[in-house]
């Protein structure tokens, strides 16, 4: 009766399909007020005054400003630099300044038009270049939130012996998570003084930590509950701490429940985006195209506050050299401050940016060395026993080669390269055709020693009436957490899938299993769930009980609960002794394991309009073990589709540091027509420390489309574009420039 490896039906699927799942805007709270946010209209400066129009019925409203905060005015994340509400100083457009609540939602919004804020504006710093040049100091003296250095071997020596040296610069911009459910949070204060929030989120305990500081209350006086969450993709990792703080302050002051639900026009410009990046490569190769040295420089734009930028940069840095063995590597990276809304978590978390650069750079190297990029990749890719840039020796579960070879074969890549080259020589054809390849790795779990600091806990409980419940703060946001946890627990315990339930993430009832991020839920938290289930099984075995029938579960309940209503088996993360990481030198085992993916993009470009149409995407992804193949495939297809958007369509237009196309009408994500058919193969190279061999899958598929599609477009149009998205306007411009040079 094994569950793992079977495509069990989504646990909460029926509620979602019947419209019964309760998202935060569906929750009806008696006497609830609607909260709205007054935001800054300047980039940078000082608030001189806030004037409330006389004659407006302000008595109907609850108002909260920085002065009302009982504890500390900050959004607690890694640094403590970001205020919950701007207090005099403004650092970016759309920065929250003041909160209002009213029983009528439209009236709450209406009031915003009757408040006038006077500022003394300062000249803003809007670009990474200006920030690095310290046009003005926004963060410490150099504007650098964080920098990293990875060094392996001797970079100078590597370049000295080079037959070829290839340099390139690559650039990517903001990307919006574009979850279909906007951010939203409700809050109320219980009669015992407990501040409670419920809403759309990925990380209940991040919010818990933030609220403890905002209110200066003991941990047990803060309660965070997840409601059904309509997509996250990183956009509901850290931002909900902000909106939860706002809703809770209003509720606390109003002494009534308050709900803040953003509309799209507020959510898009005001909340976090993927970090823009500039990545420069200088690479040394021998005569056969073997890598001798990689010198890589990464700059990311963090926006106005530190938020999660340091860890985004860390992941970007650790993936910057690609899944390739190279004896001499240097990666220098930094993330800098600008007067733009803070950038934050988004699926892939820095890696899609640096992997785009290294993978497109492989195409440039192939041109320079005059071998095809497939051969170049085959000669350099990681195998078992390879050593990474941080000196990690890959002892197991390296599926890069299998993923690559399967994808190449299934897609007919080699044949198409020849076929399309000849097609493109025919001037009568109405399109240019192109095919492009990428190969990536993605570390599962937290970076470096992150999992040790997190010290996550998860468990399995049995109630006196015989219900088995997984206990974790890891949220179901569409990726299939509930189903996957149930499968793992069922197999570890030796019971059918249907017998296991998952407790709703609520800090009152579930332990802190860490944030729902970093492709860690299956590999890390799933591993804890498995251990907790094994602990329960062992406890039962001691009593001579094996769970075979429902009546065995009733017996188990009696045995394990005794006179208590519930018995919990909670386990904590333990770092395997063999995993060694040094944060100071950035050397060692950066991640327990990497997942791998290859993708071939097959597309054509209309010669009349320069529009790109992808005809087919073929991909193979090594995720160790697919706990639920259908759900894993859903992650791969969905992540790839976001990558297609990143590659071709998604363009945040910023003017004076603010997004000016912040609506679905003008921020263009792919429709069903824009998303091509995908051929997905799951490769399973098991990881011994992952539950049932599983690694992470959440972020990996986001990494592949950018570089493969860019390679295919460059091939098709005979241009060299090094920037995403590949808008038709950019393709036309590149064609005109290329023809001008000829």
């Amino acid at each position: 009766m094994t569950s793992v490896g079977v495509s069990h039906r989504r646990k909460e699927g029926p509620e979602k399909l019947c419209g019964l799942a309760k998202y935060i805007d569906d929750l009806s709270l008696p006497g609830c007020l609607h909260g709205v946010t007054l935001r800054s209209t300047i980039n940078c400066g000082t608030i001189k005054s806030i004037d409330f129009e006389t004659g407006f019925p302000w008595q109907e409203y609850v108002r909260v400003s920085a002065m009302d905060i009982p504890g500390r005015n900050l959004v607690a994340l890694i640094e403590e630099d970001q205020p919950l509400l701007a207090d005099r100083k403004v650092m970016h457009p759309h920065e929250p300044i003041l909160l209002l609540a009213h029983p009528d939602r439209a009236k709450a919004y209406e009031a915003l038009k009757h408040i006038r804020v006077q500022y003394e504006a300062l000249e803003p710093v809007l670009t990474m270049e200006d920030s690095l040049a310290v046009k003005r100091a926004l963060y410490k003296e150099n504007n650098v939130f964080k920098s990293f250095l990875i060094e392996k071997g001797d970079i100078v020596k590597g370049f000295e012996s080079a037959r070829y040296t290839v340099e390139g610069e690559y650039r990517v911009w903001h990307q919006e998570q574009a979850y279909i459910e906007n951010n939203g949070m409700a809050a109320w204060v219980e009669p015992d003084g407990t501040v409670t929030v419920q809403g759309s989120m990925q990380c209940p305990y991040y919010i818990h930590k933030a609220l403890v500081k905002i209110f200066g209350l003991p941990e047990e006086k803060i309660r965070v509950i997840q409601s059904a969450t309509g997509g996250g993709f990183g956009g509901k990792e850290e931002y909900p701490s902000m909106i939860a703080g706002h809703a809770a302050l209003l509720a606390w002051k109003a002494k009534k429940p308050v709900k803040i639900v953003y509309d799209r026009a507020e959510d898009m410009p005001a909340t976090t985006k993927r970090h823009p990046a500039i990545v420069r490569h200088k690479t040394a190769l021998d005569k056969n195209g073997k890598l001798l040295a990689q010198d890589i420089d990464v700059v990311m734009d963090g926006g106005a506050y530190a938020t999660l930028s340091s860890v985004v940069l860390s992941r970007g840095t650790l993936h910057a050299a690609g899944p390739y063995e190279c004896p001499n590597v240097r990666v220098r990276s930094r993330v800098v401050a600008t007067n733009t809304p803070p950038n934050g978590a988004f699926r892939g978390f820095g890696a899609p940016q640096t992997l785009f650069a290294v993978e497109l750079h492989m195409e440039k190297i192939a041109r320079a060395v005059k071998i095809d990029s497939l051969t170049l990749r085959r000669r350099n890719l990681w195998k078992e026993g390879s050593t990474t840039a941080t000196g990690q020796v890959l002892s197991e579960s390296v599926g890069a080669c299998e993923a690559l070879e399967h994808t190449v074969k299934k897609s007919g890549y080699v044949r198409k390269v020849k076929e399309y080259a000849s097609w493109n020589r025919n001037a009568k054809k109405k399109t240019w055709k192109g095919v492009g390849l990428s190969l990536v790795h993605h570390g599962a779990g937290f970076t470096g020693s992150g999992e040790v600091y997190l010290a996550s806990k998860a468990g399995l409980s049995i109630t006196e009436d015989g219900r088995l419940q997984v206990l974790a703060a890891s949220t179901e946001i569409g990726q299939g957490t509930n189903t996957m946890f149930s499968q793992i627990a069922a197999d570890a315990l030796g019971v059918p899938f249907d017998w296991v339930e998952v407790e709703n993430p609520d800090t009152k009832f579930v332990p802190n299993s860490g944030p729902t991020v970093a492709s860690r839920t299956t590999m890390v938290v799933g591993g804890l769930v498995r251990r907790a289930a094994l602990a329960m099984k062992e406890a039962l075995a001691k009593e001579g009980l094996v769970l075979k029938t429902p009546s065995d579960v009733k017996k188990a309940a009696k045995l394990l609960c005794g006179s208590e209503p519930i018995r919990r088996f909670i386990v904590q993360y333990e770092k395997p002794a063999e995993i060694v990481w040094d944060d100071a030198t950035y050397k060692g085992d950066a991640y327990g394991a990497y997942a791998y993916a290859a993708l071939v993009a097959d597309l054509e470009i209309d010669k009349t309009t320069f529009e790109v149409k992808i005809n087919k995407l073929t991909t193979a992804q090594d995720i160790g073990k697919a706990v639920n193949p259908l759900l894993a495939e859903g992650q791969i297809i969905g992540g790839t589709a976001q990558g297609v958007g990143y590659a071709l369509l998604e363009h945040c237009v910023y003017k004076d540091g603010a997004m000016v196309n912040g609506q679905f009408t003008n921020y263009i994500i792919p429709t069903a027509m824009d998303t091509p058919a995908m051929d997905v193969k799951i490769v399973e190279k098991p990881y011994s420390r992952g539950p049932f061999g599983a690694k992470g899958v959440g972020e990996l598929p986001m990494d592949t489309p950018g570089p493969a599609i860019a390679a295919a477009v460059n091939f098709a149009a005979g241009v060299w574009i090094t920037e995403l998205p590949l808008l038709p306007e950019r393709i036309l411009k590149a064609i005109n420039e290329t023809q001008g040079q000829r």
Binding site: A106, K107, Y109, E110, A265, K430, E611, K613, L649, A672
Partner: protein, 287 residues
């Protein structure tokens, strides 16, 4: 959402005549047809406190009627209804194609031709087709009825030449005298479906004896404050054979009729070059 329904006054006529009467009394009222554009702004809280002339009850303006000389499309016929009508499908395929590219099914089921025209967006996808078919807009106001060639309806970005209290009743589509030899509708949007146009083109061309062009009409949207006929390019073609020199001249003249801009959706350079490419491939007969 930021719209405040209780601040809205709603007039609900049950017939065209009643609509005209009410609008004549309250010319500041906003006529509401499908609402697919108005409601977007209303949801942003930008139109609270208005008086709305809700035309949903005006059944007589929803009809599509084929006659001997053409088709009369009621102003409240939806894009989906127009796209389904057999005579429109047979005689006005460019309009059918245009209707099929407006938003997606949900928008096509609500948006109306009259609402589309009155809204006068520079990116209105039906307008190049209407210009090519030389549609005539029938209006009605307390001052009486008028017939305006579609080319005289648009006054600028989201502005029309309709007077106070004047409503669009129907749109006449006159049948073409002769079948065109070629026709084209091409929308280039921000993505493959449900997109706003970067440029949108419609054209017909009829070749006579010896390959001389007898009729050529070509119009573009999203290329100027209003959709426009390329009269300069047309006159370079009509009466001539489609030689490379004639095609080149027509493409050169395209720019004289348009004034595309850089905006959040595209660039002037792209709009011009792509529009020229579309015109060229149409004239060369290989679109």
């Amino acid at each position: 959402m930021r719209g405040a329904p209780e601040t809205m006054a709603v007039l609900r006529p049950k017939s065209g005549a009643e609509a005209v009467k009410l609008y004549g009394q309250q010319t500041k009222a906003v006529p509401l047809a499908g609402g697919t554009d108005f409601m977007v702004l209303w949801n942003l809280g930008l139109l609270n406190g208005r008086t709305i002339l809700d035309l949903s009850g005006v059944r007589d303006w929803r009809k599509i009627a084929a006659a001997r000389t053409g088709v009369l499309v009621g102003s409240l016929a939806t894009h989906a209804e127009i796209g389904r009508h057999p005579t429109v499908r047979a005689e006005f395929p460019l309009l059918v194609s245009a209707c099929a590219t407006i938003g997606a099914a949900q928008i096509q089921n609500r948006g109306t031709l009259g609402g589309n025209i009155a809204n006068a967006s520079p990116a209105g996808d039906t307008f190049p087709s209407l210009l090519v078919y030389e549609a005539v807009v029938r209006t009605v106001s307390p001052r009486g009825k008028r017939k305006l060639p579609i080319s005289e309806v648009f006054a600028g970005v989201k502005r029309t030449t309709l007077g106070p209290g004047e409503l669009i009743e129907a749109v006449e589509l006159p049948f073409l005298d002769k079948r065109p030899s070629r026709r084209l509708f091409r929308k280039v949007g921000t993505r493959l479906a449900q997109a706003i146009s970067k440029t949108v083109a419609a054209g017909i061309l009829r070749l006579g004896k010896g390959g001389v062009v007898e009729d050529f009409r070509f119009a573009l949207g999203s290329m100027a404050p209003t959709a426009v006929r390329l009269t300069e390019a047309e006159s370079a073609v009509v009466g001539f054979k489609l030689t490379p020199a004639v095609v080149d001249e027509a493409c050169r003249r395209l720019e004289r009729s348009v004034s595309p801009i850089d905006d959040i959706r595209s660039t002037r350079e792209y709009r011009l070059e792509v529009s020229r490419n579309i015109l060229r491939s149409f004239l060369e007969g290989n679109q």
